[in-house]
């Protein structure tokens, strides 16, 4: 089966500034893919490139096996890109009906699809009100409704919870979770790292137009986890540090006293560490796996670049 999104060597400059600089993306179908990066890292530009709104200087893009300039391909894609944009003099329902008509839906089908989408995002009660009077949060919900209008296979969401109150954030997260459970692919660009931690099974981190990390969310979090080994005495801790260093474990500086060692890197495994230390007659008083938050991993990845 083809990927939901596949991009190779994507490059886009604005003047001499590289907004996107050689990005490769592979988003499997049915996954919830988190797309992270600080402001100005190129997330929105990447999304615009994926949707065919911008043309890449170099590179190729495949959406659901087709081109983003192909109508039949885009018909299976729903998207929120940056701030919501609607005709202010039309009602929420009229806005959706208009785009349903543009998507060649028959009138009755379009009206029903608009009703359904507005119901999903909780805007049914204001469906006949002009968008001009909507709050930022209501417009954001309407953007979500527009993204869902065509019952898409792939949903690309750029900061979907921007401007929403806490209740709205929970609702939108619920909608994203529902989309994922129904087998749709969700590409989620957000600043809210807890959102990614909760929802995404894969994640990519972008910094200055380049991908600095990509993989399963679980693996990325494991990259940031540490093993904290505490001994009763400083002598035991010093001896353990020598043994672990010689065995190739990465020891990190810690500030919790000289009786605690922090072991990082890929070769984590509390049982292996225990066996090694016990073989040398060293017995830790406490051994704790400290799980990293996505926030700390994100900061580590983006600040180091």
């Amino acid at each position: 089966m083809t990927a939901a999104i596949e991009a190779r060597g994507l490059v886009r400059h604005f003047g001499s500034v590289p907004a996107v600089d050689g990005i490769d993306l592979y988003v499997p179908r049915g996954s919830v893919y988190g797309f992270l990066g600080p402001n100005g890292s190129g997330k929105t530009t990447t999304i615009r490139l994926l949707l065919g709104l911008l043309r890449p200087d170099r590179g190729s893009i495949s959406l659901l096996g087709g081109s983003p300039h192909d109508a039949s391909c885009l018909a299976q894609v729903g998207a929120i890109v940056e701030r919501p944009a609607f005709y202010p003099y039309l009602s929420a329902h009229e806005n959706l009906r208009l785009f349903a008509t543009m998507a060649r839906m028959p009138s009755a089908t379009g009206a029903a699809a608009a009703d359904r989408a507005l119901g999903v995002v909780g805007l049914s009660s204001v469906a006949r009100r002009k968008v001009d009077g909507f709050s930022t949060g209501m417009k954001q919900r309407l953007a979500m409704a527009l993204a869902l209008l065509r019952d898409p296979t792939l949903v690309i969401l750029d900061e979907p919870t921007n401007g929403l109150d806490p209740g709205g954030v929970v609702e939108v997260r619920g909608v994203i979770g529902e989309l994922a459970r129904s087998g749709r692919t969700v590409f989620l660009s957000t600043h809210v790292l807890t959102e990614v931690e909760q929802l995404c099974d894969r994640v990519a981190v972008l910094q200055r137009g380049r991908l600095v990390a990509e993989g399963l969310t679980r693996e990325l979090l494991e990259r940031g986890q540490r093993l904290a080994i505490t001994f009763d005495t400083e002598e035991e801790a010093g001896g353990a540090a020598r043994v672990l260093s010689e065995a190739g474990f990465a020891l990190e500086a810690e500030d919790e006293g000289e009786t605690t060692l922090l072991v990082g890197g890929d070769r984590l495994g509390s049982s292996a560490v225990c066996r090694l230390l016990a073989g040398q007659g060293l017995y830790p008083a406490e051994l704790v796996v400290r799980r990293a938050s996505l926030e700390s991993v994100f900061l580590e990845l983006t600040e180091g670049v």
């Binding site: 043309r55 192909d70 109508a71 885009l74 005709y87």
Partner: protein, 316 residues
């Protein structure tokens, strides 16, 4: 493209500004016509003191000629041209506003992004929008023409004694242009020139709005172009010799202004005095060549609409 036209209808039917323009222009034309008709032939010639009888006769003849002359524009079919002349500027501004607003606002509001996602065939989308723009301009022009045709039946202007027009106006120092008979065909030539003016204004402002991605910028840039072309044309016309003298006539603004005057001359409404042809350095072109130049401009400007939108990055 029917679904795109339907989608545009959902949008346009709620645009009160569009309907104010489309229906307001004929209303303004009618207002100008009615006020003109009400004041036509109401001139009073004041005489003080004793006047010799032969001079009184001459004054009476002059008053009758004036009355008949001023009533002429309100007689069918010349009434059509009168109505059209009264709305030319409004229609030009209206068509320009419609193009700027219906194209430029898509960028200002950011809705062009949704359009691009729901209709990746940008040229088809623009084709539908162009169709609507032309249709709206046509509705306004047809309404103006129809009002001009039916107005004489409702608003009657007393023509006085038509034989008074046969007098030699120079005998009492009048500058009246000898009235030529205006046919329906002549009136329609004036209507055609108005259509050209409106479409050219729409095409120029529309291109600027697409290129600069805003309605206001579109109007501003097109306005600057018109002024710059006018200045450059005046300079070339006053200095150039040989083939260069034809250059100003190739400009859109100058050519349109020439076309309007040519149409009035062709319809028998004007002698041509005061039109660009009377400017120093102006060399007359055959009317068909003039019309062909406008057609080339229109094709070029509208073609550029499609090129600009096809190549545009949608960064809104």
């Amino acid at each position: 493209m029917g679904y795109l036209l339907r989608a545009d209808w959902l949008r346009i039917r709620r645009r009160w500004d569009v309907w104010i323009i489309v229906l307001g222009i004929p209303a303004l034309g009618l207002l100008a016509y009615v006020t003109g008709a009400m004041s036509a032939g109401n001139n009073q010639i004041q005489i003080s003191g004793d006047v010799p009888p032969e001079f009184q006769l001459q004054i009476a003849a002059q008053a009758a000629a004036q009355k008949a002359f001023q009533a002429l524009p309100y007689q069918f079919p010349r009434s059509i041209a009168t109505m059209v002349e009264g709305t030319t500027m409004w229609l030009l501004l209206g068509a320009a506003y419609l193009a700027a607003s219906l194209l430029g606002n898509e960028f200002s509001w950011g809705t062009i992004r949704n359009v691009a996602l729901f209709q990746p065939g940008r040229l088809r989308y623009l084709g539908a929008r162009l169709t609507w723009l032309v249709a709206l301009v046509l509705v306004a022009i047809v309404a103006v023409t129809a009002l001009g045709a039916i107005a004489p039946a409702i608003i009657r202007v007393d023509p006085g004694d038509p034989s008074a027009l046969a007098q030699d106006p120079s005998s009492f120092g009048m500058q009246f242009v000898p009235p030529a008979p205006v046919t329906i065909g002549g009136a329609l030539i004036v209507v055609g020139s108005l259509l050209c003016v409106a479409l050219a204004g729409m095409a120029l402002v529309g291109l600027a709005a697409l290129k600069f991605r805003s309605a206001a910028s579109g109007i501003l840039v097109a306005g600057i172009y018109v002024v710059v072309e006018g200045i450059a044309a005046a300079l070339v016309m006053s200095r150039a010799t040989g083939d260069l003298r034809y250059l100003p006539q190739l400009g859109l603004t100058m050519r349109l202004s020439g076309l309007v005057q040519d149409a009035q001359v062709a319809a028998g409404l004007s002698s041509g005095a005061g039109n660009p042809a009377s400017s120093p350095g102006w060399v007359a072109l055959p009317p068909l060549v003039g019309a062909a130049i406008i057609a080339v401009w229109l094709c070029g400007l509208l073609g550029l609409w499609f090129v600009v939108l096809r190549r545009a990055d949608i960064a809104e």
